[in-house]
Amino acid sequence: MSLHDLRPLFERLARAFEEKRDELIALDGKVGDSDLGITMAKGFAAARDAVSALGAASPAAQAKHAGAAIAKAAPSTMGTLMGTGFLRGSKAIETAESVGTAELAAFFAAFRDGIAQRGRAKLGDKTVLDVLDPIAAALEAEAARGTAPEPALAHAVEAARDGLEKTRDLVAQHGKAAAFQEKSRGLPDAGGTAALILAEAFHAAFAEAG
Protein backbone atom coordinates (compact mmCIF):
# COMPACT_ATOMS: atom_id res chain seq x y z
CA MET A 1 0.00 0.00 0.00
CA SER A 2 1.04 3.59 -0.46
CA LEU A 3 2.38 5.85 2.30
CA HIS A 4 0.84 9.23 3.23
CA ASP A 5 3.19 10.00 6.05
CA LEU A 6 6.92 9.44 5.51
CA ARG A 7 7.88 9.76 9.17
CA PRO A 8 8.25 5.98 9.63
CA LEU A 9 10.44 5.90 6.52
CA PHE A 10 12.81 8.53 7.91
CA GLU A 11 12.88 6.74 11.31
CA ARG A 12 13.88 3.60 9.42
CA LEU A 13 16.55 5.40 7.35
CA ALA A 14 18.12 7.00 10.43
CA ARG A 15 18.25 3.64 12.18
CA ALA A 16 19.68 1.86 9.12
CA PHE A 17 22.50 4.36 8.62
CA GLU A 18 23.29 4.31 12.33
CA GLU A 19 23.51 0.50 12.26
CA LYS A 20 25.69 0.51 9.12
CA ARG A 21 27.87 3.37 10.30
CA ASP A 22 30.96 1.31 11.12
CA GLU A 23 30.58 -0.88 8.05
CA LEU A 24 30.58 2.21 5.83
CA ILE A 25 33.51 3.73 7.71
CA ALA A 26 35.55 0.57 7.15
CA LEU A 27 34.62 0.37 3.47
CA ASP A 28 35.31 4.04 2.77
CA GLY A 29 38.54 3.90 4.77
CA LYS A 30 40.07 1.55 2.21
CA VAL A 31 39.99 4.10 -0.59
CA GLY A 32 38.74 7.35 0.93
CA ASP A 33 38.89 9.31 4.14
CA SER A 34 36.49 7.13 6.17
CA ASP A 35 33.98 9.88 6.75
CA LEU A 36 31.11 8.37 4.75
CA GLY A 37 29.65 6.34 7.63
CA ILE A 38 29.80 9.34 9.93
CA THR A 39 28.26 11.82 7.51
CA MET A 40 25.46 9.46 6.45
CA ALA A 41 24.53 8.65 10.07
CA LYS A 42 24.56 12.35 10.94
CA GLY A 43 22.67 13.34 7.82
CA PHE A 44 19.84 10.86 8.19
CA ALA A 45 19.50 11.51 11.94
CA ALA A 46 19.03 15.18 11.05
CA ALA A 47 16.52 14.24 8.32
CA ARG A 48 14.49 12.19 10.82
CA ASP A 49 14.47 15.09 13.29
CA ALA A 50 13.53 17.64 10.61
CA VAL A 51 10.65 15.53 9.31
CA SER A 52 9.44 14.83 12.81
CA ALA A 53 9.56 18.55 13.70
CA LEU A 54 7.60 19.36 10.55
CA GLY A 55 4.50 17.50 11.77
CA ALA A 56 1.77 16.55 9.32
CA ALA A 57 2.80 17.55 5.80
CA SER A 58 2.70 16.27 2.23
CA PRO A 59 5.24 13.60 1.20
CA ALA A 60 6.94 16.18 -1.02
CA ALA A 61 7.31 18.66 1.86
CA GLN A 62 8.67 15.93 4.09
CA ALA A 63 11.23 14.82 1.49
CA LYS A 64 12.23 18.44 0.86
CA HIS A 65 12.88 19.18 4.52
CA ALA A 66 14.77 15.91 4.83
CA GLY A 67 16.97 16.85 1.88
CA ALA A 68 17.80 20.27 3.27
CA ALA A 69 18.56 18.74 6.68
CA ILE A 70 20.93 16.15 5.18
CA ALA A 71 22.79 18.77 3.16
CA LYS A 72 23.27 20.94 6.23
CA ALA A 73 24.16 18.21 8.71
CA ALA A 74 26.48 16.28 6.41
CA PRO A 75 28.75 18.79 4.68
CA SER A 76 30.60 16.26 2.55
CA THR A 77 30.24 15.32 -1.08
CA MET A 78 27.94 12.40 -0.36
CA GLY A 79 25.89 14.42 2.12
CA THR A 80 25.38 17.14 -0.47
CA LEU A 81 24.49 14.56 -3.10
CA MET A 82 22.03 12.71 -0.86
CA GLY A 83 20.47 16.03 0.11
CA THR A 84 20.19 16.93 -3.56
CA GLY A 85 18.54 13.57 -4.26
CA PHE A 86 15.79 14.17 -1.71
CA LEU A 87 15.22 17.77 -2.85
CA ARG A 88 14.92 16.79 -6.51
CA GLY A 89 12.88 13.70 -5.64
CA SER A 90 10.48 15.87 -3.68
CA LYS A 91 9.92 18.08 -6.72
CA ALA A 92 8.99 15.02 -8.78
CA ILE A 93 6.16 14.13 -6.37
CA GLU A 94 5.14 17.73 -5.65
CA THR A 95 1.37 17.17 -5.96
CA ALA A 96 1.15 13.58 -4.70
CA GLU A 97 -0.96 12.98 -1.59
CA SER A 98 0.57 9.60 -1.02
CA VAL A 99 3.53 7.61 -2.30
CA GLY A 100 2.81 4.50 -4.35
CA THR A 101 4.90 2.72 -6.99
CA ALA A 102 4.45 5.45 -9.62
CA GLU A 103 5.59 8.11 -7.15
CA LEU A 104 8.53 5.95 -6.03
CA ALA A 105 9.59 5.60 -9.66
CA ALA A 106 9.32 9.34 -10.29
CA PHE A 107 11.09 10.09 -7.00
CA PHE A 108 14.07 7.81 -7.67
CA ALA A 109 14.43 8.89 -11.30
CA ALA A 110 14.66 12.54 -10.17
CA PHE A 111 16.90 11.49 -7.26
CA ARG A 112 19.30 9.79 -9.68
CA ASP A 113 19.22 12.60 -12.25
CA GLY A 114 19.76 15.28 -9.60
CA ILE A 115 22.81 13.47 -8.25
CA ALA A 116 24.19 12.86 -11.74
CA GLN A 117 23.86 16.55 -12.55
CA ARG A 118 25.25 17.88 -9.29
CA GLY A 119 28.05 15.34 -9.00
CA ARG A 120 28.88 15.48 -12.72
CA ALA A 121 29.36 11.74 -12.76
CA LYS A 122 28.17 9.24 -15.33
CA LEU A 123 27.30 5.58 -15.18
CA GLY A 124 30.34 3.36 -14.85
CA ASP A 125 32.41 5.91 -12.92
CA LYS A 126 32.05 3.75 -9.81
CA THR A 127 29.81 6.06 -7.85
CA VAL A 128 26.48 6.02 -6.06
CA LEU A 129 24.90 6.39 -9.53
CA ASP A 130 25.83 2.85 -10.49
CA VAL A 131 23.44 1.65 -7.78
CA LEU A 132 20.82 4.41 -8.00
CA ASP A 133 20.29 3.83 -11.69
CA PRO A 134 19.25 0.15 -11.33
CA ILE A 135 16.96 1.16 -8.43
CA ALA A 136 15.25 3.81 -10.55
CA ALA A 137 15.05 1.49 -13.58
CA ALA A 138 13.51 -1.34 -11.53
CA LEU A 139 10.90 0.98 -10.02
CA GLU A 140 10.08 2.43 -13.41
CA ALA A 141 9.52 -1.08 -14.83
CA GLU A 142 7.37 -2.09 -11.84
CA ALA A 143 5.35 1.11 -12.06
CA ALA A 144 4.64 0.35 -15.72
CA ARG A 145 3.49 -3.15 -14.71
CA GLY A 146 1.28 -1.75 -11.95
CA THR A 147 3.11 -3.64 -9.17
CA ALA A 148 2.34 -2.71 -5.54
CA PRO A 149 5.03 -0.67 -3.71
CA GLU A 150 6.37 -3.43 -1.44
CA PRO A 151 7.17 -6.00 -4.17
CA ALA A 152 8.35 -3.18 -6.45
CA LEU A 153 10.83 -2.06 -3.78
CA ALA A 154 11.87 -5.67 -3.19
CA HIS A 155 12.80 -5.82 -6.88
CA ALA A 156 14.60 -2.46 -6.55
CA VAL A 157 16.66 -3.83 -3.64
CA GLU A 158 17.65 -6.84 -5.77
CA ALA A 159 18.63 -4.51 -8.61
CA ALA A 160 20.63 -2.39 -6.17
CA ARG A 161 22.51 -5.48 -4.92
CA ASP A 162 23.36 -6.48 -8.49
CA GLY A 163 24.42 -2.94 -9.32
CA LEU A 164 26.62 -2.75 -6.24
CA GLU A 165 28.21 -6.11 -7.03
CA LYS A 166 29.09 -4.83 -10.50
CA THR A 167 30.86 -1.78 -9.06
CA ARG A 168 33.57 -4.17 -7.84
CA ASP A 169 34.85 -4.42 -11.42
CA LEU A 170 34.89 -0.65 -11.92
CA VAL A 171 37.69 1.81 -11.27
CA ALA A 172 36.91 4.98 -9.32
CA GLN A 173 36.91 8.21 -11.35
CA HIS A 174 35.67 10.69 -8.77
CA GLY A 175 36.48 12.02 -5.34
CA LYS A 176 39.23 10.83 -3.09
CA ALA A 177 38.77 7.23 -4.28
CA ALA A 178 39.90 8.36 -7.74
CA ALA A 179 43.40 8.87 -6.34
CA PHE A 180 43.44 5.15 -5.58
CA GLN A 181 42.19 4.17 -9.06
CA GLU A 182 43.35 0.55 -9.48
CA LYS A 183 43.29 -0.08 -5.74
CA SER A 184 39.54 0.57 -5.84
CA ARG A 185 39.07 -2.39 -8.17
CA GLY A 186 37.57 -5.39 -6.42
CA LEU A 187 35.88 -3.32 -3.73
CA PRO A 188 32.21 -2.38 -3.87
CA ASP A 189 31.74 1.39 -4.11
CA ALA A 190 31.13 3.00 -0.73
CA GLY A 191 28.59 5.51 -2.07
CA GLY A 192 26.84 2.70 -3.89
CA THR A 193 26.66 0.79 -0.62
CA ALA A 194 24.89 3.80 0.89
CA ALA A 195 22.38 3.69 -2.00
CA LEU A 196 21.69 0.00 -1.27
CA ILE A 197 21.08 0.84 2.41
CA LEU A 198 18.70 3.56 1.22
CA ALA A 199 16.72 1.13 -0.97
CA GLU A 200 16.58 -1.48 1.81
CA ALA A 201 15.21 1.06 4.27
CA PHE A 202 12.56 2.19 1.77
CA HIS A 203 11.57 -1.45 1.28
CA ALA A 204 11.43 -2.13 5.01
CA ALA A 205 9.29 0.96 5.64
CA PHE A 206 6.77 0.00 2.95
CA ALA A 207 6.78 -3.67 4.07
CA GLU A 208 5.97 -2.53 7.59
CA ALA A 209 3.10 -0.38 6.29
CA GLY A 210 1.63 -3.56 4.81
Binding site: K64, A68, A71, K72, L81, T84, R118
Partner: protein, 333 residues
Protein backbone atom coordinates in the same frame (compact mmCIF):
# COMPACT_ATOMS: atom_id res chain seq x y z
CA UNK B 1 58.66 22.72 4.94
CA UNK B 2 59.57 26.10 6.39
CA UNK B 3 56.38 27.93 7.37
CA UNK B 4 55.11 29.99 10.28
CA UNK B 5 52.62 27.59 11.84
CA UNK B 6 51.42 26.45 15.20
CA UNK B 7 49.72 23.24 14.18
CA UNK B 8 49.25 22.57 10.44
CA UNK B 9 45.59 21.64 11.03
CA UNK B 10 44.97 25.11 12.51
CA UNK B 11 46.39 26.92 9.48
CA UNK B 12 43.07 28.18 8.09
CA UNK B 13 41.28 29.00 11.33
CA UNK B 14 44.25 30.80 12.86
CA UNK B 15 44.74 32.79 9.67
CA UNK B 16 41.07 33.81 9.93
CA UNK B 17 41.42 34.74 13.60
CA UNK B 18 44.30 37.01 12.65
CA UNK B 19 42.28 38.64 9.88
CA UNK B 20 39.29 39.30 12.14
CA UNK B 21 41.56 40.82 14.78
CA UNK B 22 43.26 43.04 12.22
CA UNK B 23 40.21 44.20 10.30
CA UNK B 24 37.06 45.19 12.19
CA UNK B 25 35.24 45.98 8.93
CA UNK B 26 34.75 42.22 8.45
CA UNK B 27 33.20 39.69 10.77
CA UNK B 28 31.98 36.10 10.92
CA UNK B 29 28.39 34.94 10.82
CA UNK B 30 26.63 31.79 12.08
CA UNK B 31 29.35 31.57 14.75
CA UNK B 32 31.61 29.98 12.12
CA UNK B 33 35.03 31.51 11.45
CA UNK B 34 34.74 30.31 7.86
CA UNK B 35 31.56 32.30 7.18
CA UNK B 36 33.26 35.61 6.43
CA UNK B 37 31.11 38.70 5.83
CA UNK B 38 31.22 42.47 5.78
CA UNK B 39 30.39 44.05 9.13
CA UNK B 40 28.37 46.72 7.30
CA UNK B 41 25.82 45.16 4.91
CA UNK B 42 23.86 47.76 2.97
CA UNK B 43 20.06 47.41 3.02
CA UNK B 44 18.51 47.08 -0.45
CA UNK B 45 21.80 46.27 -2.17
CA UNK B 46 22.42 43.05 -4.10
CA UNK B 47 24.68 40.86 -1.95
CA UNK B 48 27.70 39.34 -3.69
CA UNK B 49 29.12 36.11 -2.30
CA UNK B 50 32.27 34.31 -3.29
CA UNK B 51 34.17 31.41 -1.81
CA UNK B 52 36.64 28.67 -2.41
CA UNK B 53 39.62 26.96 -0.90
CA UNK B 54 42.18 28.68 1.30
CA UNK B 55 45.78 29.17 0.25
CA UNK B 56 45.20 31.93 -2.30
CA UNK B 57 45.09 35.17 -0.32
CA UNK B 58 43.97 37.76 -1.03
CA UNK B 59 41.62 35.51 -3.02
CA UNK B 60 38.79 34.96 -2.10
CA UNK B 61 37.85 36.69 1.11
CA UNK B 62 40.19 39.63 0.49
CA UNK B 63 37.70 41.27 -1.82
CA UNK B 64 34.92 41.51 0.77
CA UNK B 65 34.50 45.21 1.47
CA UNK B 66 33.15 48.48 0.19
CA UNK B 67 32.18 48.52 -3.51
CA UNK B 68 33.21 44.90 -3.95
CA UNK B 69 31.88 41.76 -2.23
CA UNK B 70 29.70 41.14 0.82
CA UNK B 71 30.71 37.69 1.93
CA UNK B 72 32.99 34.72 1.35
CA UNK B 73 32.68 31.10 2.43
CA UNK B 74 36.14 29.87 3.31
CA UNK B 75 37.22 26.29 2.63
CA UNK B 76 40.23 24.36 3.87
CA UNK B 77 43.44 24.63 1.88
CA UNK B 78 42.48 24.00 -1.76
CA UNK B 79 39.09 22.62 -0.62
CA UNK B 80 35.59 23.89 -1.24
CA UNK B 81 33.60 25.41 1.60
CA UNK B 82 30.46 23.43 2.51
CA UNK B 83 27.06 24.25 1.07
CA UNK B 84 25.87 25.08 4.57
CA UNK B 85 28.64 27.65 5.06
CA UNK B 86 27.77 29.22 1.71
CA UNK B 87 24.09 29.24 2.70
CA UNK B 88 24.85 30.99 6.02
CA UNK B 89 26.86 33.67 4.22
CA UNK B 90 24.03 34.00 1.68
CA UNK B 91 21.43 34.54 4.40
CA UNK B 92 23.58 37.21 6.05
CA UNK B 93 24.25 39.22 2.88
CA UNK B 94 20.65 39.01 1.60
CA UNK B 95 19.42 42.56 2.05
CA UNK B 96 16.20 42.33 0.11
CA UNK B 97 17.68 42.51 -3.39
CA UNK B 98 18.93 38.97 -3.91
CA UNK B 99 22.38 37.45 -4.00
CA UNK B 100 24.94 36.91 -6.75
CA UNK B 101 27.47 34.08 -6.51
CA UNK B 102 30.81 34.67 -8.23
CA UNK B 103 33.40 31.92 -7.84
CA UNK B 104 35.90 29.91 -9.82
CA UNK B 105 35.19 26.95 -12.08
CA UNK B 106 36.07 23.98 -9.85
CA UNK B 107 33.90 20.87 -9.40
CA UNK B 108 33.65 20.96 -5.60
CA UNK B 109 32.84 24.66 -5.52
CA UNK B 110 30.18 24.29 -8.21
CA UNK B 111 28.50 21.46 -6.35
CA UNK B 112 28.40 23.31 -3.06
CA UNK B 113 27.41 26.71 -4.46
CA UNK B 114 24.64 25.09 -6.52
CA UNK B 115 23.40 23.24 -3.45
CA UNK B 116 23.52 26.41 -1.35
CA UNK B 117 21.64 28.28 -4.08
CA UNK B 118 18.95 25.62 -4.11
CA UNK B 119 18.62 25.80 -0.31
CA UNK B 120 18.58 29.62 -0.43
CA UNK B 121 15.78 29.61 -3.02
CA UNK B 122 13.80 27.44 -0.58
CA UNK B 123 14.14 30.33 1.86
CA UNK B 124 12.92 32.76 -0.83
CA UNK B 125 16.30 34.32 -1.56
CA UNK B 126 16.84 34.98 -5.27
CA UNK B 127 20.27 33.70 -6.34
CA UNK B 128 22.19 34.15 -9.60
CA UNK B 129 25.54 32.59 -10.43
CA UNK B 130 28.49 33.63 -12.58
CA UNK B 131 31.45 31.25 -12.67
CA UNK B 132 34.90 32.64 -13.45
CA UNK B 133 36.75 30.61 -16.11
CA UNK B 134 39.49 32.93 -17.30
CA UNK B 135 42.43 30.48 -17.48
CA UNK B 136 43.13 30.22 -21.20
CA UNK B 137 45.67 27.43 -20.68
CA UNK B 138 43.22 25.01 -19.09
CA UNK B 139 41.11 24.24 -22.13
CA UNK B 140 40.81 24.98 -25.82
CA UNK B 141 38.57 27.48 -27.60
CA UNK B 142 35.10 25.98 -27.87
CA UNK B 143 35.48 24.27 -24.50
CA UNK B 144 35.75 27.42 -22.40
CA UNK B 145 33.30 25.97 -19.88
CA UNK B 146 36.07 23.60 -18.80
CA UNK B 147 38.49 26.43 -18.05
CA UNK B 148 39.54 27.04 -14.46
CA UNK B 149 38.96 30.32 -12.69
CA UNK B 150 42.14 32.12 -11.65
CA UNK B 151 43.30 35.71 -10.96
CA UNK B 152 41.04 37.28 -13.60
CA UNK B 153 38.06 36.73 -11.29
CA UNK B 154 39.27 39.99 -9.70
CA UNK B 155 37.77 41.86 -12.67
CA UNK B 156 34.40 40.16 -12.13
CA UNK B 157 34.45 41.19 -8.48
CA UNK B 158 35.44 44.73 -9.39
CA UNK B 159 32.79 45.26 -12.07
CA UNK B 160 29.94 43.48 -10.28
CA UNK B 161 30.85 45.04 -6.94
CA UNK B 162 30.72 48.56 -8.39
CA UNK B 163 27.43 47.77 -10.15
CA UNK B 164 25.86 46.47 -6.94
CA UNK B 165 27.10 49.54 -5.06
CA UNK B 166 25.18 51.68 -7.57
CA UNK B 167 22.10 49.76 -6.37
CA UNK B 168 21.52 48.03 -9.70
CA UNK B 169 19.05 45.14 -9.50
CA UNK B 170 20.20 41.50 -9.30
CA UNK B 171 19.79 40.65 -12.98
CA UNK B 172 21.78 43.72 -14.01
CA UNK B 173 24.61 42.98 -11.59
CA UNK B 174 24.67 39.38 -12.86
CA UNK B 175 24.71 40.57 -16.47
CA UNK B 176 27.69 42.82 -15.77
CA UNK B 177 29.56 40.04 -13.98
CA UNK B 178 28.84 37.81 -16.94
CA UNK B 179 30.08 40.44 -19.38
CA UNK B 180 33.31 40.83 -17.39
CA UNK B 181 33.67 37.05 -17.33
CA UNK B 182 33.27 36.72 -21.08
CA UNK B 183 35.90 39.41 -21.67
CA UNK B 184 38.57 38.30 -19.20
CA UNK B 185 41.48 36.06 -20.14
CA UNK B 186 44.43 34.94 -18.06
CA UNK B 187 47.67 33.07 -18.66
CA UNK B 188 49.92 31.91 -15.85
CA UNK B 189 53.45 30.61 -15.48
CA UNK B 190 54.92 28.77 -12.50
CA UNK B 191 58.58 28.64 -11.47
CA UNK B 192 58.33 26.59 -8.28
CA UNK B 193 55.69 24.50 -6.48
CA UNK B 194 53.67 25.22 -3.34
CA UNK B 195 53.29 23.22 -0.14
CA UNK B 196 49.94 22.41 1.49
CA UNK B 197 50.61 22.79 5.26
CA UNK B 198 48.93 19.54 6.25
CA UNK B 199 50.86 17.67 3.56
CA UNK B 200 54.20 19.22 4.42
CA UNK B 201 55.98 18.76 1.09
CA UNK B 202 55.45 19.84 -2.51
CA UNK B 203 53.05 17.70 -4.55
CA UNK B 204 55.23 18.08 -7.65
CA UNK B 205 58.60 19.49 -8.68
CA UNK B 206 59.73 22.10 -11.19
CA UNK B 207 63.42 21.88 -12.06
CA UNK B 208 65.73 24.71 -10.93
CA UNK B 209 66.07 25.99 -14.50
CA UNK B 210 62.51 25.24 -15.63
CA UNK B 211 59.18 27.02 -15.95
CA UNK B 212 55.72 25.62 -16.55
CA UNK B 213 53.44 27.73 -18.72
CA UNK B 214 49.76 27.41 -17.90
CA UNK B 215 50.07 25.71 -14.53
CA UNK B 216 46.97 26.13 -12.35
CA UNK B 217 46.87 27.77 -8.93
CA UNK B 218 46.69 24.37 -7.25
CA UNK B 219 49.53 23.00 -9.34
CA UNK B 220 47.32 21.56 -12.06
CA UNK B 221 49.48 20.60 -15.04
CA UNK B 222 50.09 23.36 -17.57
CA UNK B 223 50.59 23.24 -21.31
CA UNK B 224 54.36 23.25 -21.57
CA UNK B 225 57.37 22.66 -19.39
CA UNK B 226 60.57 24.22 -20.70
CA UNK B 227 63.80 25.99 -19.79
CA UNK B 228 63.15 29.34 -18.14
CA UNK B 229 63.30 31.97 -20.88
CA UNK B 230 64.10 35.72 -20.60
CA UNK B 231 61.17 37.70 -19.11
CA UNK B 232 60.17 39.30 -22.41
CA UNK B 233 60.00 35.92 -24.12
CA UNK B 234 57.91 34.51 -21.27
CA UNK B 235 55.44 37.40 -21.58
CA UNK B 236 55.34 36.94 -25.35
CA UNK B 237 54.53 33.24 -24.98
CA UNK B 238 51.72 34.06 -22.57
CA UNK B 239 50.25 37.01 -24.48
CA UNK B 240 50.47 35.19 -27.81
CA UNK B 241 48.05 32.65 -26.36
CA UNK B 242 45.63 35.38 -25.30
CA UNK B 243 46.00 37.34 -28.55
CA UNK B 244 45.33 34.17 -30.55
CA UNK B 245 41.83 34.16 -29.08
CA UNK B 246 41.15 37.84 -28.84
CA UNK B 247 42.69 40.44 -31.10
CA UNK B 248 43.42 43.93 -29.81
CA UNK B 249 43.99 46.89 -32.08
CA UNK B 250 43.52 50.63 -32.46
CA UNK B 251 40.51 51.89 -30.52
CA UNK B 252 40.53 48.94 -28.10
CA UNK B 253 40.95 49.51 -24.38
CA UNK B 254 41.92 46.98 -21.72
CA UNK B 255 42.54 46.59 -18.01
CA UNK B 256 45.58 44.50 -17.07
CA UNK B 257 46.38 42.58 -13.91
CA UNK B 258 49.88 41.24 -13.39
CA UNK B 259 49.58 38.89 -10.44
CA UNK B 260 52.32 37.30 -8.36
CA UNK B 261 51.68 33.70 -7.29
CA UNK B 262 53.20 34.14 -3.84
CA UNK B 263 57.00 34.05 -3.96
CA UNK B 264 57.74 36.31 -6.90
CA UNK B 265 58.91 39.82 -5.99
CA UNK B 266 57.10 42.92 -7.19
CA UNK B 267 60.24 43.99 -9.08
CA UNK B 268 59.86 41.00 -11.40
CA UNK B 269 56.17 41.72 -11.92
CA UNK B 270 57.10 45.19 -13.18
CA UNK B 271 59.65 43.64 -15.54
CA UNK B 272 56.83 41.48 -16.90
CA UNK B 273 54.44 44.43 -17.13
CA UNK B 274 57.01 46.43 -19.09
CA UNK B 275 56.73 43.89 -21.90
CA UNK B 276 52.94 43.57 -21.55
CA UNK B 277 52.64 47.33 -22.00
CA UNK B 278 54.94 47.29 -25.04
CA UNK B 279 52.84 44.59 -26.68
CA UNK B 280 49.60 46.55 -26.28
CA UNK B 281 51.37 49.69 -27.48
CA UNK B 282 52.53 47.82 -30.60
CA UNK B 283 48.97 46.64 -31.17
CA UNK B 284 47.67 50.19 -30.78
CA UNK B 285 45.38 49.29 -27.86
CA UNK B 286 45.10 51.43 -24.74
CA UNK B 287 45.87 50.01 -21.30
CA UNK B 288 43.49 52.03 -19.13
CA UNK B 289 43.82 50.31 -15.76
CA UNK B 290 46.82 48.46 -14.39
CA UNK B 291 47.14 46.47 -11.20
CA UNK B 292 50.31 44.70 -10.11
CA UNK B 293 50.87 42.65 -6.99
CA UNK B 294 49.43 39.61 -5.28
CA UNK B 295 45.77 39.11 -6.11
CA UNK B 296 45.44 35.33 -6.38
CA UNK B 297 48.29 33.31 -4.98
CA UNK B 298 49.20 29.71 -4.48
CA UNK B 299 50.99 30.08 -1.16
CA UNK B 300 54.77 30.02 -1.74
CA UNK B 301 54.57 29.22 -5.44
CA UNK B 302 56.88 31.39 -7.55
CA UNK B 303 55.43 32.60 -10.80
CA UNK B 304 52.97 35.07 -12.21
CA UNK B 305 49.84 35.44 -14.23
CA UNK B 306 48.70 38.07 -16.69
CA UNK B 307 44.98 38.84 -16.91
CA UNK B 308 43.45 41.02 -19.61
CA UNK B 309 39.94 42.44 -19.56
CA UNK B 310 38.58 44.03 -22.71
CA UNK B 311 36.81 47.22 -21.68
CA UNK B 312 33.75 48.88 -23.13
CA UNK B 313 31.86 52.04 -22.19
CA UNK B 314 29.88 50.15 -19.55
CA UNK B 315 32.71 48.16 -17.91
CA UNK B 316 35.31 50.92 -17.90
CA UNK B 317 33.79 53.18 -15.20
CA UNK B 318 32.91 50.15 -13.05
CA UNK B 319 36.47 48.87 -13.21
CA UNK B 320 37.79 52.35 -12.44
CA UNK B 321 35.42 52.96 -9.48
CA UNK B 322 36.80 53.26 -5.95
CA UNK B 323 36.91 50.21 -3.71
CA UNK B 324 38.01 49.65 -0.15
CA UNK B 325 38.56 46.22 1.40
CA UNK B 326 41.11 45.07 3.97
CA UNK B 327 43.22 43.63 1.14
CA UNK B 328 42.45 45.92 -1.79
CA UNK B 329 42.12 49.66 -1.97
CA UNK B 330 41.56 51.69 -5.06
CA UNK B 331 40.80 55.39 -5.38
CA UNK B 332 39.04 56.50 -8.54
CA UNK B 333 40.96 59.23 -10.32
Amino acid sequence: MKKFLNRPEDFVDEMLEGIYRAHPQVTKTADDLRCYVTAHPRPGKVGIVTGGGSGHLPLFLGYVGENMLDGAAVGGVFQSPSSDQILEVTKYVEQGAGVLYIYGNYTGDIMNFDMAGELAEMEDIAVRTVIGNDDVASSIVGEEHKRRGVAGIFFLYKAAGAAAAQMMPLDEVARIAEKARANTRTMGVALSPCIVPEVGKPGFEIGADEMEIGMGIHGEPGISRSKLAPADAVVDQMLDRIFAEESFGAGDAVAVLVNGLGATPLEELYILFRRVSQRFEEAGAAVRNVWLGEFATSMEMAGASISVLRLDAELEPLIAASADTPFFKHVAR
